[in-house]
Every structure is written in structure tokens, then in C-alpha cells.
Symmetry: D2
Subunit: 199 residues, 4 copies
């Protein structure tokens, strides 16, 4: 179980430092954009494990009373000018996410990128970026650093592929939900009232 | 390609006869229940291929302006007393569908079953039933008939498992959508306005 | 119920003529490609209602013993050179489907398009095309025909948006499954053995 | 942002203590069951946010080379005697998860429950339980404790509903993946080779 324990320690330390290194102004702006979108539609997109974290966030936005949709699910309606698209991709280069973001921009929706790479294609396409630290599939945190660090004898991160980003992102978004709850004056009871009763 | 052609012929003949043998009163009642649910929430449930047909219907109900949700998808909210659950199962004995229907009944939602077997557990739990002909996974149309017909030399149906039900159900529901469009005074343009723009 | 009945008639007639107007050589080639892919991976992609029809086909390919995956679902593995991508889009211009098809081509996978518009971007990207008649969202069958026919007094089609294509496609693919069953020597019992037991 | 910061702190402390309070024997047994299932099929089930965490784990098991399926997705095959079902539910009382677990038991599959409540219906149905601390939707950690603690003036937890369980579970499962990687002798490169290339 030594790998288990070392990995858990690494993940928890990673989450902690990802929260500490957040750019608070970026987060404040995200909160404003979300609160302004109360009367609009919010679309969330992400592929693979980022997509699952994205869905967990979408579910809580629904609990909070937002009109929120996960792209690709059955009842997703038309996005319109002024709507919000939140695109989650550690690398910022997931093609399906880029395609959706470009389509959203053309419609006149505001695109928010949650990514480790603000310089990525997704970052460049976005109206607003939240940078979440994470060794993503692109490396540690970038391929070149990864090699550089190995040369100087640093230890390779334990968690594979995008796991660091996905865990950091999950905790970031769940903390954001608590902030939104209080800004909106919602109690846990309010959330529960909107929570799925058939499951 | 002879099997292809024979199968297509059998499926088309099956759809035709399933539409002819519909109980019009059952369908009229379903239309009334849907129109009465304009201000309520509609939940749709189905597993496997029945679930895909169910989702295709849910998408059109969204296009028509209904508040509709497919059970198990991310943003599905709480079902409440007076809401509608439409449960699709050829055999009427799919366990997950039964579990959802029972939960919906307890909440005080109205359960509509779309099935080939009105006597099934699902049929018995439902407030309203639409019987759609279909040789389902249970046989042709029931196991005993299947054997009986084989003995007298009738040809075994070509299409496997629930395929007949699923095709019949798809055409039934898409025809229903057209009836609803006209009853609600919706044009194709109205539907298009609500159709996904990012896909 | 007159709209219901007229719509059912139109859908059934549409399916019938879509089967008759198939290019048999296109279908034969598709069957060959599928049988050659027995030892490879098959990926299926489609958005919205085309995606549900695509999933219904994917499920039957799984029943038949193929290694098949629906793009975007959890356990979809890496596509590799020589694998097959089946892309379903009535209009042939669904962006997410085009993005997936382009990515598949770059990897060296064979792309099969099932569409009403062989000249579309999807058709042009594909290695093989199956043309399935259908008034799609683009019109009847094309915008210009639609206007032209209205001018000469032809009746507007009843079914909205892509419904015609989706129904035609469902029956086409389910007929194909029966042909594949016989070519592979599979019985219904074989399919049932692979069918989900927890649902 | 004070609620954001307090919530992040609470979530991180919760994850840390949930890892420390794990029953190592339970985890060791889970690892054994997973390694023994290398030649079998593994099914994963969970609803809502637990379901998204479950899917993130399923994706990594696929990366590791397991034959793994998320219940309800398109290509899920038949579960058979000797297969594994991993059921994730914080409360241990999610009906759809119970229905799936009962069906799996009847088939002769081994059921593993990941839950905060080993005494729950799911816990009782399971062959093996992993207890993951978490204030779940049932309370803090149980309704009665919640009230009791409020009376003595303890602070109400910030994170709503099942969020604590879901974050704890995500980190637990991602740490487990690293342990499995090493036990199976898999490198990150091996995982990447199996990772989705079209997304």
C-alpha cells in the first residue's frame, strides 16, 4: 500500500497548493459572470475525466437553481447570445472542447476556460480563464519541465495523465459552489429541494 | 443482401401494423396527459435501446417547449407530486425502469408505461398504459406463442431481441410529436429555435 | 389524431422509399468493412437524435461480438490505425462529428459516413459513404428543393427537423444487423448471451 | 471569497482524514479482488455525482487494461457469475444502485460497496465494503449526530449534500489507481496508449 499512501499524499498536497496558487481576481470574475448569468443559460463542456468533474459541477449549479446544461446530453437547448459556456480541459487542447467553444463564440456566448494552460488554444479562444494548476497529460507541468526535472533527479509525479488537474478542479469547483450558495442566500435545504428524487 | 431486404420488409410491415393496432383511446389520453403537463416536469426513463428511443422523444419534447428530463442525466431535478414519468420498456420488466416507476409513484407522480405487455409489472404499476406491439426479448410476442407458431410452421421473426418494439416505438413517438406540434400550434421554426446550436 | 395518422403514414412511406433507394453497392461495401473489422475496434459517433440511433446500432454490434465504442462514453479506448469510425449525421455538417472524423482520419482510421448529403463536409472527409434519404434539418431534401416544391404546390413534410433521416437510419441499421447476424452465423441466442443482464 | 476559502479548507481536511481513517484491510482486499478480476468483467455503478466519480475510476481501470463497463452506457455486456460489481453510494441507499446490486448478486457476481454507511442496505447486500468517511445526504455523518453536534455548538459543515463523500471518494480511487499501476507493472506510457485519442 506504499504507492497508495504516497499517491494520496501527493494528490492532497497538490490540491492544497492549487487552491493557494489560484488567482483570486480570476475567481472573483468567474463568480460575477455566474451571478450575472442567473437569468441566462449556462452550458458546460468537458471530455473524459474532466467531463465528469464538469458534470459534478453542473449538477450543483442545477441544485442552486441555475439553468444549466451539459453539452451532449439529451435535452440541451439552443445556446444564444449572452449565454455562458464553461469549458474544462487540463491541456486546453481537447479538440471536441475547442469545437464547442468556437461554436459558442460564433453564437455570441461568453466562453470561460478552466485549464492548466492559459496560453493553450482554449485559453486563447476564451473570454475569461481560470488557471488551475495541474500536471496534465501534456507533462509535468510541461513536457520540457518534465525532462528537465528528471535530469536534475527530481521524482516523477505518481498520478498518471490528467489526474492532478481533475482532483484540483473538483475541489476548486466544490468550494466555489459553497461561495455561490452564500452569495445567493441558498441553504442546504434549498439545494436538497432541487435534488433528484428518483435515483 | 437477402437477409437485409427481408429484415427491412419485416420491420416496415411491423411498424405499419403496430400503428394500425394502436388503441386510439390510449393515445388520446396520453396526449391529454402531456398537454396537461405543460406547466409541470416530465421525466423519461428507459434502459438500453428503449432508452435511446426514449431520449429521441425527450429531445423532441424539449424542442416543443416542455420541461423534460431523461432520468440519470446530469441536471435532472427533483420529481414532485403531479409530475409525469414516461417509462419505456418492451417487456415491462426491466428492473431499473420498475425501480424508477415505483419511486415516482411514491412521490405522487403520474406514471405512463409504454410497453408490449400491459399485464407486466410495469403495466401494473402504471397509471396509464400505451400498448405498442412488438416481439420483445420475451418472445414472439410471448414465449408460448413463439413455440406454438414454430410448431405450425410459421417463420421465426428475423429481427433479434427488442428490435421490433424499438422501431415501432420510435415511429409511434415521432408521429405523436407531429400531433403535439399541431395541438400546441408550434411550427418547425419554433422547434428549430430550441434545437441545440452547439453540436 | 389526424396529424398523428398522417405523420405515421409519411414516416412509414419515407422508410420504405429510403430502403428502396439505397445504393446496394454502398451497403455491400459497408458490410465488408464491418466484417473486416472483426479483429479491430469500431467507434461510432453522432450527436442528438442521430446519436441515439447510432447508440442503438452500437449496442447491437456489441451483441454481435464486435469491439465497439460510442465516442464520448466513459470507457472508450484509443483509436488506432486501421480501426473504423462510423459517423452518423443527416446534414453531414454537425461540427462535433466532423471534428471526430478529422481526428480519426489523422490517426489512420477508416471513416464511414452515414448521411443524406454525400457532398457535405462529412461526406468529403469520409473513406466510404452510405447515403440515407431524409429530409434533414437542411430542408426538403435541400433548402432550394423545398422552396421549389412549395411553389408548385407540393405539401410540406410533416415531420420536423431530422426526424425522417433518423427513422430511416434506424430501420436501415437494424436491417443491416440481421444481415450481419447471418453472415457471421450468429443466432438470436448468441446475441442474448451478450445482452446486458443488469438493467 | 471567505466561504470559498473556508470550504476548500474543510474539503481538503476532510479528504486527509478520510484517507487516514481508511480500514487498510478493506483496501487490501479490494486490491486483491480487482487483481483477481483481470480476466473477468468489472461493472461500475453510481448515480448523480457519485456516478461521475465512479466513471472517472472506470476510465482509469480501462487505461490499466481492465475489461470495465459503466452500467447504463451503450455497450455494457452481460454480467456473469464471477464478475465484479463496484457500487458507489455515499448513503448506501440509492435505489437504482441497490437494484443493480441485487441483480448482480442473483447472477453470481461479487458486489463491492463503496459507501459511508456499512450498515446501509447496500452495505448489507455487498460481499465486500470499503467505508469512506463522508457527511452524505443523510446528515453529519448521520441526521441524529448532526442535530446533537449543533446543540453542543459545533459548526455546521459547509459543503452541501454528498460533496464530502464525493471528493473523498475521488482521491481514494485515484490513489488506488497508482497502487494498481505498480502492482500490475504499468507505466504512465502504458495508460496513455489506451487513452482516448478522439476527444
Amino acid at each position: 500500500m506504499k504507492w497508495f499512501e504516497a499517491a494520496a499524499e501527493e494528490i492532497i498536497a497538490g490540491i492544497k497548493s492549487s487552491i493557494e496558487e489560484l488567482n483570486i481576481k480570476e475567481v472573483e470574475r468567474l463568480i460575477d459572470l455566474l451571478l450575472e448569468a442567473k437569468e441566462k443559460k449556462i452550458f458546460i463542456v468537458g471530455m473524459g475525466r474532466s467531463g465528469f468533474v464538469a458534470r459534478a459541477f453542473a449538477l450543483r449549479l442545477m441544485n442552486l437553481g441555475f439553468s444549466v446544461y451539459f453539452l451532449g446530453e439529451t435535452i440541451t437547448p439552443a445556446a444564444e447570445k449572452g449565454d455562458l459556456l464553461i469549458a474544462i480541459s487540463g491541456t486546453g487542447s481537447t479538440k471536441m472542447v475547442l469545437t464547442a467553444s468556437t461554436a459558442a463564440k460564433e453564437i455570441g456566448a461568453t466562453v470561460i476556460a478552466i485549464t492548466s494552460f492559459p496560453e493553450s488554444q482554449l485559453g486563447q479562444a476564451a473570454d475569461h480563464i481560470i488557471t488551475i494548476k495541474g500536471r496534465t497529460k501534456m507533462g509535468w507541468p510541461r513536457e520540457e519541465d518534465y525532462l528537465a526535472r528528471q535530469i536534475v533527479g527530481e521524482r516523477e509525479p505518481l498520478t498518471p495523465l490528467g489526474s492532478v488537474f481533475e482532483n484540483n478542479c473538483m475541489v476548486f469547483l466544490d468550494s466555489l459552489v459553497v461561495e455561490l450558495m452564500h452569495r445567493l442566500g441558498r441553504t442546504e435545504e434549498d439545494l436538497k429541494r432541487r435534488h433528484a428524487t428518483i435515483e
